[in-house]
Symmetry: C2
Subunit: 283 residues, 2 copies
Amino acid sequence: MPRGDAPLGVFDSGLGGLTVVRALRQALPRERIVYLGDTARVPYGTRSAETVLRYARGCARVLIERGVKALVVACNTVSAVALDMLRAELDLPVLGVVEPGARAAVGALGRLADAGGARIGVLGTQGTIASGAYPRAIGRLTTRVEVVGAAAPLLVPLVEEGWLEGEVPRLAVERYLAPLVAAGARVIVLGCTHYPLLAPLISEVAARLAGVEVAVVDSAVATADDVVAWIDDERIPSAPVASAPATLDVLVTDRPGSFQAMAGRFLGGTAPDVSQIDLAAQA
Amino acid sequence: MPRGDAPLGVFDSGLGGLTVVRALRQALPRERIVYLGDTARVPYGTRSAETVLRYARGCARVLIERGVKALVVACNTVSAVALDMLRAELDLPVLGVVEPGARAAVGALGRLADAGGARIGVLGTQGTIASGAYPRAIGRLTTRVEVVGAAAPLLVPLVEEGWLEGEVPRLAVERYLAPLVAAGARVIVLGCTHYPLLAPLISEVAARLAGVEVAVVDSAVATADDVVAWIDDERIPSAPVASAPATLDVLVTDRPGSFQAMAGRFLGGTAPDVSQIDLAAQA
């Protein structure tokens, strides 16, 4: 049985997974968290499934060595292409973001006033879209909804560059969203943890293209709900920390540099302390 | 003394260095070339100097194991931040792209009809611009020219996405070029081997912003000239291959996939055969 006082391990290719950490800290303020962002090898979304799996194994190993009680894969690409392998290989619970995101999308579609025949659209990296993970996950929840996807490789660099508004991100978002909206998408899943920073723009552009309300779904909160459910199911005792909020350790594989400033934006608060580790030396 | 029949080793973070290979094959059609694109870890330009050096050492080791007689670092970021270390550590000639690019830029400025007080502008990755390598290299050639630089991190993803024309690349290029042109740049150095694919757009936007002719400089041809000069200086016998063009071996560290199709575009001809190697296994 997992130790209640062990931390949760969360990893992502870079910064984006901190949006999941933010949701986890709101849902579970007494849980210690160790976060690993593989900034020396970001982005994962343009790489092959084999390479993503290899990188994900390295990240998992670092967190397991730090004694985490469960792994939260806060990266859509890893969740889409490598989750089953990680679950088969590792001896601890592994939770991803695609299943919660699919559930949130189906829920959002159900809440639309006039959703007859509407589809779910997924924006994601090339790896996530090519994997078909979202259509599969949504198909396990309902067989009555069609899913359309679009790979949007420029959105991660736009977020990393901090271009969140203005003509360049607007036109890029428009170009990626147009075929989804034209195909009848009324719910857009942000299938990459970087995209929530572009959510206001995505929401505005989708509504303008569609001429009607379009729901924009971020899987961070749904993922935190999954972690809460796992903790309840396993009857893991509450982490015996003295007071909330518990510690957050942030590890990165390249020099912290601009990561630290950006990290505050993703966490929705002050910038955390960030330490660099050498992933190659751990291999 | 290097063996004349040994191949030249050329490496880059990804595809871009193939523009240098193209120039090398035109200048030296009888030389065998082994090219390595580190596609599993591209891009280098956003990473710290320490990480870039570590990755560059790994690439160099692969090529040295294949018996190359010299290394051509066809990556501006590696040339800017790691060339001196590689030269100190490795027991073979190491040629970069920054020195030839600087020379080509100074030459282009001299050829402008009315260049009094004009500056040289450099577009590059964050790593290249932060290193100050271009101002240093140009300063060794002339003390009378001021250099202004702009980091342009979105241009590599735009090229990799194949968005070479249209509003998004036009606005992004405009945003990066505007401060350079406003500062008096009349020569723009393409300080990243990805950028030549955007050269027509960069040229057009720069001329429109400046209201006068602006020279756009690509270091690929100047780099090939350096390799020719080295071969002449060292009196290396011509490679005894039966006929030109000699073989080109292309290695990548992630699955070839879309690389192969894109590679033809960079080489200006047919797509080469591409093999995947495991860089981690070589470490």
